[in-house]
Amino acid sequence: MSTLRASVNVTPATGRPFLLYESDRASRALETLGAWILGVLWILPLLYAFWAAFHSSADSTHFTLSAPWTLANFVHAWHAAPFARYFLNTVMLVTMVLGAQLVLVTLAAYAFARFEFRGRGVVFALVLVQLMVMPDVLIVENYRTMTALGIKDTILSIGLPYMASAFGIFLLRQTFKTVPRELDEAARVEGCGPLATLWKVYVPLARPTYLAYALVSVSYHWNNFLWPLIITNSVESRPVTVGLQVFSATDQGLDWSIISAATLLSTGPLLIAFLLFQKQFVQSFMRAGIR
């Protein structure tokens, strides 16, 4: 272990200290370069989507800066599929699934973390099975179930198999188990029943876990394609991923301008929201973690 002279500096972003080693000053430039190259690489597909969406098909594959800009692709894409409705469906789906998941997962995790009852281990193991047996691999069976329940081709049917999330139960149980018992007993001394204790003590303390889980869930259901494709038929229930698919599978060959325009149309609102609120989002994420 070599001893290097170091000074304690302050991170501009958060005002927290970090170590700055002398040899770092040289490597820091290199790091910045590396980080930027990676960043450019990462955002390249989005940049390309912007380029192609605003230029005609012929210009989409060459990067001559003088090429004329056009909005025709957006018009074309908009008319090719009802994106406004698809987007609304996706938002409803994601919100509904997340809402249901948060409730179900909280109740179940609380039961596993703080209650003793016969068969707890067995039931928990059964719950964990869902970590491996994802609804993605059980499409035919689930389709039959949906038909039997009579809710085929609804947004509910897309989300229902995912609402009881083993992953969420596992995560939240971990978090709940770290809550100090004293708080629990303090709440009871004040006359809170189990649900009130859950709401007043456990839920606030598990906020970072909830945020992390919400991110996983939203991202998953926003991007889910195969199951929604099978289970939905009509415009009223189809999410954006299925709607976008109309551009991928054509005999006429790929038109990157149209595909890019469609992609931007359907993810645009989310991108803008993230752009405007990313600081708040990440801050709250991290601030919740500090506690």
């Binding site: 594959t61 008319h79 038929n233 009509s234 054509t250 005999d251 006429q252 060959g253």
Partner: protein
């Protein structure tokens, strides 16, 4: 608080009244026959709008029928959706699916033949009006299982400007394999470092290479399967010879890009001037016409022992799990949408080949062909067109061939070995059906 409560109560009462009224209303209306139908979208353009337009127009003429067009993705997704629905117990009444799905649908007992619905002389005349080439994939065992709707063939697109630049006659596309090879050799341009800037010809091999390959096989004298869909001829000398020719284009003559050529980007390659001749569906016509910055032509595929091309595209099928009233209603729609004027209109708007001869004689179609002669090439090729590869357990038997073709084109197996293995796998799969 009191005012709010009163307001809420009024609101609740109004809502209940409205709800009751809405529930009661339908009871007084005559229930129309519902005909849900799946349709895929495989070409660009506002297909959904066109189909919805057809549905609306049809319903105006037939107020007792309610069509429910359901966009079901690509052909692949559509058959998956249809069969999942059949197994799940609630299939649509009719659907546009690949003509090659016929045996699969029959084996799953999912569809009924049209023969039970064709009763009048007018109906029989209507059935006889479709091109025989398209009917080959629509009939088996003496029965008609599908009605052609959106069909296509493979054609050769060629860059006339590139022909001129290479010293070739732009109005004389290659008519034989030898000519195509010779032309391609002249058209393949290399830069100073030896890298190719323009390939002579490319035949796409991603996804479903069997379709393009079938063109070569038919031109070499045989077709890939028998009419009953129980035998395939992957390892026959003509088939292997066709594959050898394709592989030679890459390795021996070096006029064809190496590795797997992507289907989706091939039209773009052509438009970019990266390849002077391409084999692809006639459905690309509108796209190429709109976007080509150069003079281009369309030709029938070159002959070897004879001219040939597979057909492609989708048929209407009627599903078994439907009431007689629904089947009649669906049949009405299918007849309506395949009337000559509408078949012509569909062909013009989408680029598919109008499926009946009298559609080509309608004034709109005549005018269209006058302004755009290339549109008639696919029709002119129809006498030489043969059925697309279609057998029992179709997808799997086709996959065996696709894998073999890709193995040969990427150099991991010789054409003979690849085809022998494909034949072995196909025989294994087809044995239960013989």
């Amino acid at each position: 608080m009191g005012r709010t409560m009163r307001f809420l109560r009024v609101l609740a009462r109004a809502a209940t009244a409205l709800f009751v009224a809405l529930c009661a209303a339908p009871a007084f209306a005559q229930a129309p026959v519902e005909v849900p139908f799946y349709y895929p979208v495989a070409v660009g353009g506002p297909i959904t709008k066109i189909i919805d337009g057809y549905a609306a127009d049809f319903e105006k003429d037939h107020p007792s029928i309610k069509l429910k067009p359901i966009y079901s993705g690509s052909y692949q997704e559509s058959i998956a959706k249809a069969l999942t629905a059949v197994k799940g117990g609630d299939p649509p009444v009719t659907s546009i699916l690949l003509s090659t799905d016929m045996y699969t649908l029959i084996d799953e007992d999912a569809i009924v033949p049209f023969d039970g619905l064709i009763k009048t002389d007018a109906d029989r005349k209507w059935l006889a009006s479709f091109y025989p080439a398209f009917m080959e994939n629509s009939q088996t065992g003496g029965k008609t299982w599908g009605i052609p709707f959106q069909r296509s063939t493979v054609v050769l697109y060629y860059n006339k400007d590139a022909f001129k630049a290479a010293g070739l006659d732009p109005n004389h596309p290659p008519g034989t394999w030898k000519e195509m090879t010779a032309d391609a050799e002249k058209l393949t341009k290399r830069d100073a470092s030896g890298k190719v800037t323009q390939w002579g010809v490319q035949i796409p091999s991603s996804g479903f290479p069997y379709w393009l390959f079938q063109g070569l096989v038919i031109e070499n004298g045989i077709n890939l399967m028998n009419a009953a869909g129980t035998e395939v001829y992957y390892d026959k000398p003509e088939t292997v010879g066709a594959l050898q020719y394709w592989v030679d284009l890459v390795n021996k003559y070096k006029v064809h890009p190496p590795g797997i050529v992507d289907w989706g980007t091939t039209p773009k390659d052509f438009l970019e001037g990266r390849v002077a001749m391409m084999w692809t569906t006639t459905g690309n016509l509108t796209n190429i016409r709109k976007n080509a910055k150069f003079d281009f032509g369309v030709a029938m595929l070159p002959a070897n022992k004879r001219r040939g091309s597979p057909t492609g595209g989708g048929n209407f099928y009627i599903f078994k799990k439907s009431t007689p009233a629904q089947r009649e209603a669906a049949f009405e729609f299918i007849k309506w949408v395949t009337q000559p004027e509408r078949a012509a209109q569909w062909g013009i708007e989408t680029g598919y080949v109008a499926v009946r001869a009298d559609a080509w004689d309608t004034p709109e179609m005549k005018k269209y062909v006058e302004g755009f002669p290339a549109a008639a090439v696919a029709r002119d090729q129809l006498p030489f067109a043969k059925a697309e590869l279609s057998t029992h357990d179709n997808q799997r038997v086709t996959k065996a061939l696709n894998d073999g073709l890709q193995a040969a084109l990427t150099g991991s197996k010789s054409p003979a070995a690849a085809m022998k293995e494909a034949q072995r796998e196909a025989d294994r799969l087809l044995r239960p059906y013989r």
